[in-house]
């Protein structure tokens, strides 16, 4: 079964330059016929390829904006990071007014439910025996563990992310107000590709409470256009549901969960490579005494999401400032609490859990004897390959090519070193080796030299 993933390659734009292939943490990309191809079962939607592509050939599939108008009652589920995209002189209330104007009758901040999420997380930290407990906040990390660290799936806390809890809340609120369930459309404004995959094929859940996803960059364009059109003539709308706490504002930043952890030993790590390095140690049982792990795929966490516009450090700064401002109000007792969310506490808390996460391992064969046979062949081929991981075969490493030869019908002669040797021994004509290169890198790249 193939898994949904949001990152797609636009073949009309792709030059087959292999930059993406070299940065993929799960070796999911190959170049064939001069185009990059993503293996859906290996992709965890981390977005490394999107960032590495010099031609903007990788895009994030999103729902058509007009989809929202299929629903009479439209909700924008907006993470704090979105508001961090704009400069300080553009107020949050002004952005809300614009979101109303472009079609959303209701705007709600994703993090409104984080106190509940934190409560559940802390409860799990208290009762957990399988250390370390790994946060389920970042969907790219959950998928990475399923694919690359299947032995750690039981460490992932089986609870919904704040975005799903908030979607549940707003849905229930609107149903209580008299809207039929199927007329409510909840649209999440996503900073990254992984959250789209999380909505389209949730882990440990049948169906998400979110109906669609809007990419943050495209919504930024829409909102910013309005800001430009308005000039000095604009209105502001206060949120009907009370503001976020300072803790909630900071949740999606690195350390956002760890700083509220009740455990003695907890870590927060961001960046795909950093997370993988640490998970490797955890899986080897080399790490002792860590109770809680907050792992985020992007540098600086969600402000570093691939669909954000603003520089991630500036976004963090704006969110910190907002949190500091709110913290001042909290100290003076001026903040109105999110009472509506608190009123639904018991209902939300009851529905906060998801089923345990299942591994999604990428093994050579479901049958162990066959897998062993394949692995023996792979090891044999690996010894013949130069082990310099040049990528000219269209695979990210010599070991990946060896696997592709045994499992996916590639040939040893896809390796340039093997080709040159065969040519020297007169086992292969130059035209034949050029044909191989053409099959991998496309006609255009070879034709130039003919």
């Amino acid at each position: 079964m193939a898994f949904f993933h949001a990152l797609q390659i636009n073949e009309n734009v792709c030059e087959g330059c292999s930059h993406c292939m070299r940065v993929c943490p799960t070796e999911a990309i190959r170049v064939r016929d001069g185009k990059a191809h993503i293996n859906e079962n290996r992709c965890v939607d981390c977005g490394n390829c999107f960032t590495a592509c010099p031609h903007k050939a990788i895009f994030v599939k999103q729902d058509d904006f007009d989809e929202i108008f299929k629903f009479p009652c439209r909700v924008a589920l907006v993470p704090a990071v979105f508001l961090g995209q704009f400069k300080d002189d553009i107020t949050v209330s002004r952005i809300y007014a614009i979101l109303n104007e472009i079609g959303f009758q209701h705007v709600i901040e994703t993090e409104i439910s984080t106190p509940l999420y934190t409560e559940k997380k802390n409860e799990m930290e208290r009762s957990n025996n399988n250390k370390p407990l790994i946060s389920s906040f970042c969907p790219a990390i959950v998928r990475l563990i399923q694919v690359k660290f299947p032995g750690l799936v039981d460490n992932i806390m089986p609870i919904k992310a704040p975005l799903d809890i908030t979607a549940m809340f707003i849905r229930r609120k609107l149903v209580k107000e008299g809207w039929p369930e199927d007329q409510i459309g909840v649209f999440y404004v996503t900073p990254c590709a992984a959250k789209i995959a999380a909505v389209k094929s949730p882990v440990g859940e049948e169906k998400s409470s979110v109906d669609g996803v809007i990419n943050m960059d495209s919504l930024y364009n829409r909102v910013y256009k309005k800001i430009k059109e308005q000039g000095h003539d604009y209105k502001e709308v206060k949120l009907p549901i009370a503001q976020l706490t300072s803790d909630s504002i900071l949740t999606s930043l690195t350390n956002g969960e760890r700083r509220l952890s009740i455990s003695e030993h907890s870590l927060s790590i961001d960046g795909m490579d950093n997370c993988m390095e640490f998970l490797e140690k955890v899986e080897n049982d080399e790490v002792e005494g860590v109770d809680f792990l907050e792992l985020r795929a992007c540098d600086q966490s969600c402000p570093g999401g691939i669909l954000t516009y603003n520089n991630r450090f500036l976004t963090c700064e704006r969110l910190f400032n907002r949190a500091r401002y709110v913290a001042g109000k909290e100290r003076r007792g001026e903040l109105t609490r999110a009472k509506e969310v608190e009123d639904e506490h018991d209902y939300l808390y009851e529905n906060i859990s998801v089923e345990e996460v299942e591994p999604r391992s990428i093994s050579l064969d479901p049958d162990i004897s066959k897998a062993l046979e394949k692995m023996n062949k792979i090891k044999e081929i690996e010894r013949m390959l130069p082990q310099i991981d040049c990528g000219i075969c269209g695979a990210p490493s010599c070991d990946a090519l060896a696997e592709d030869i045994v499992c996916n019908g590639c040939k040893l002669s896809d390796c340039i070193f093997v080709q040159r040797n065969m040519e020297a021994r007169k086992d292969m004509k130059v035209e034949e080796s050029l044909k191989i290169m053409e099959n991998i890198w496309g006609y255009e790249k070879i034709e130039k030299f003919r």
């Binding site: 032995g151 799936v153 490797e280 080897n284 391992s361 050579l364 162990i368 897998a371 023996n376 090891k379």
Partner: protein, 137 residues
């Protein structure tokens, strides 16, 4: 399939490299993650034992469809009383080793908990062979 790794005396920095590599192999073979975990825990303990107590040695792994057989063969000094060493909390580790967080006397008992068969052969002055077998299905 046969795999082999070298273990160097006192090289705690590289402890776990054999178990890490074998883990990768077992994952590709679609071995149940909980079984992989037991193999990794047992082998890591045995590796650390060889690094902490012995003058280095080798780790070998033989994998077939039904089981994995691991051997950690060190070059001495050997265990005088295996039964004593098999008990929790019994350790001859030096203060330096203990300071590094090892040597709690849980090594062999922990290995025993995680493998299906364990055989420790030791000759004082010659060396110790720890043989561990784990069923893969």
């Amino acid at each position: 399939m046969h795999l082999e790794y070298t273990v160097i005396e006192g090289d705690f920095v590289n402890a776990g490299s054999a178990s890490s590599s074998i883990k990768k192999t077992l994952k590709q073979l679609n071995v149940n993650p909980s079984i992989v975990k037991r193999v990794v825990v047992a082998l890591y303990e045995a590796e650390v034992n060889a690094i902490a107590h012995a003058y280095g040695g080798v780790v070998t792994a033989d994998i077939d469809a039904g089981k994995i057989l691991l051997r950690v063969i060190d070059k001495g000094p050997g265990i005088p009383d295996i039964e004593w060493a098999m008990q929790e909390g019994h350790s001859t580790a030096s203060p330096e080793v203990r300071n590094m967080g090892f040597g709690a006397g849980m090594g062999l008992p922990n290995i025993k908990k995680n493998v299906d068969r364990l055989n420790v052969q030791s000759t004082v002055g010659v060396g110790t062979t720890v043989e561990m077998e784990v069923n893969l299905s």
